[in-house]
């Protein structure tokens, strides 16, 4: 720039530049189109999201409301059964599995009978088989 006068002249000419007359209507039309598109797709999207949420929530609730024997239901162990695990508590009684709802009573360790093992038939080696010898 040679001097400030030149710069002022340039600035004045620059500020004469205005946006095209149709720009504001064009922007507002585009904004309106975008908003209406959102409205048009927004409702089905919201409905789809709600259905998807129901598809997850309803089975979960039904699962938790099913009968007592449902194995997914959280087990309730009486506090008296876990005394002793807590420091300072004198008595210790391991929980009886039979008390846990939904589970059949298991036989004690002594009641368990070791199943008889069947005698495995000896594998007959062919006569031609010779025992390998170490050299």
């Amino acid at each position: 720039m040679k001097d400030d006068t030149q710069l002022n002249e340039l600035g004045r000419a620059y500020r004469q530049l205005k946006a095209p007359r149709n720009l504001a209507p064009r922007i507002l039309a585009a904004a309106e189109a975008r908003a209406s598109r959102k409205r048009a797709y927004g409702l089905p999207l919201a409905a789809a999201a709600a259905v998807a949420a129901l598809m997850v929530v309803v089975p979960y609730l039904m699962l938790n409301k099913s009968d007592e024997s449902n194995s997914l239901r959280p087990m309730h162990i009486p506090l008296s059964r876990v005394q002793g695990h807590i420091p300072g508590m004198s008595s210790f009684a391991p929980p009886n599995l039979a008390d846990i709802q939904g589970l059949p009573a298991l036989p004690s360790r002594h009641d368990m009978v070791r199943p008889e093992t069947e005698e495995q038939p000896q594998t007959q080696l062919p006569a031609s088989f010779s025992k390998p010898t170490l050299t």
Binding site: D3, E9, L10, G11, R15, R26, A30, A31
Partner: protein, 179 residues
């Protein structure tokens, strides 16, 4: 540039008044269009950039927290969108270099197109912060305080950057004239 009026418009817009957005667009479209015209390569691109800036404003200003000026948001978005446009055009659009001397004499009346090209050429060699200061303070005639608020810096920084920028511009003008 009336920040309070802008803030009021945005509050109304956030409250669901669509006409507030209409007024906001009409208040700022010329300035955004001019800045975009300097930052991109053609007036058609400048119009597209301006439209995109206001469409982003449609969603962005709904969450506007009034921690800065609305024009700060618009200017930052204009720079971002212009950068995206220039990146897309890279290697595709060839900008013809003006054969005539882009610096007109003071007596010469220049049209706005020519002025934009001259401004673009002037500021293209400046560092970004100096370019921002020159565009806002010199060409958009914002006050030092307003420029500082838009750029999120102190008025002293604006003055220092402006001083450096003008020094650089005078030097490059002198160099090109001596060639």
């Amino acid at each position: 540039m009336q920040t309070e009026a802008d803030n009021e418009l945005i509050r109304r817009f956030q409250g669901g008044d669509a006409s507030a957005f209409d007024i906001f667009v009409r208040r700022h479209q010329d300035r955004i269009y001019r800045l975009a015209a300097v930052l991109v390569k053609s007036r058609a691109d400048a119009a597209d950039v301006t439209q995109e800036v206001f469409l982003r404003a449609l969603t962005g200003l709904k969450r506007f927290g009034f921690r800065s000026q609305p024009f700060t948001w618009l200017y930052a978005t204009t720079k971002n969108v212009s950068r995206e446009y220039n990146r897309q055009d890279k290697g595709v659009t060839v900008v013809p270099v003006e054969s005539a001397d882009p610096r007109p004499s003071a007596a010469e009346t220049m049209d706005s197109d020519q002025a934009v090209r001259t401004v673009r050429e002037m500021v293209s060699g400046l560092p970004e912060r100096q370019r921002d200061v020159v565009l806002l303070r010199i060409f958009e005639e914002l006050s030092v305080e307003q420029t500082a608020r838009v750029l999120g810096c102190r008025p002293g920084t604006v003055k220092a950057q402006l001083h450096k920028a003008m020094k650089g511009l005078r030097r490059s003008a002198a160099d090109s004239m001596s060639e």
